[in-house]
Amino acid sequence: MKQEIVITGFGGQGIVLAGRVLGNAAAIGDNRESTLIQSYGPESRGGACSAQVIISDTMIHYPYIRSSDVLVAMSQSGYEKYIPQLKADGMLLYDQDLVKPLAGVQGKYAVPATRLAEELGRKMMANIIMIGFITSVTQVVTLEAARNTVAESVPKGTEKMNLEAFGKGYDFGLSRLKGLEKKASGKTGAI
């Protein structure tokens, strides 16, 4: 099995860290193969930035994603750049205050990650919330692996805070899924 996840946003949002947590969780926590590619521009802040994470049970050769299973968008421009390569049955996860997806896009999951982070008092933790959200919505990594990796990846002393943020995102995801299930069951059973 192979999952290809693109996370995209601005420099300064912690996009690469989010990718690294996912990749790390998959590789070390879940003992699978995982390749993370980061791409960014010359800007330290505000430039386009993305992380491409491939998670697989077999060796990964070509490290770029040309067709993604999951797109996580934390900026409108990132969304616009990467949405064309999202598979038809792929999932779009996005920060609902920063990205306005096209009306017709299917399989989309919104989370107010930045707003939630601001509520937690740390705008910087939007990415951790997003990781929680990804974990529950996509299940590309196990909860345990993701939690452990978050704890290991953040600066010492901030573990609790970050795990809380992670939990918030995770739970938000669960409830979104429930909501969708309801919706879906009201529709035809397909997400």
């Binding site: 601005f10 505000g46 205050d97 920063l98 930045t114």
Partner: protein
């Protein structure tokens, strides 16, 4: 905190009245203009601009004295004043 060189510029400051212009989309919300406006007439808007920053708006409490300090301290060419 007060404008750090009030005594020096104070005289001039009183001379004219100004209108301040804010180019929202250029602003990155550093707050320098807000912090160092001698008249304290600027504050962060609650809204975001496209890049997700909160540009300054006028508090409306007092008048701009066209001292240009916001203009010259702004790293973004996002604010300037002209004579009223």
């Amino acid at each position: 905190m007060d404008y750090w060189r009030v005594p020096l510029d104070a005289a001039e400051i009183e001379v004219t009245k100004g209108i301040v212009h804010i180019l929202d989309e250029r602003c990155k919300g550093c707050g320098y203009c807000i912090e160092y406006c001698p008249k304290k007439i600027l504050k962060f808007s609650s809204a975001f601009n496209k890049k997700g920053y909160h540009p300054p708006i006028l508090t409306g409490t007092s008048d701009c004295v066209n001292c240009h300090y916001c203009e010259i301290i702004c790293p973004e060419f996002a604010i300037y004043s002209v004579e009223a």
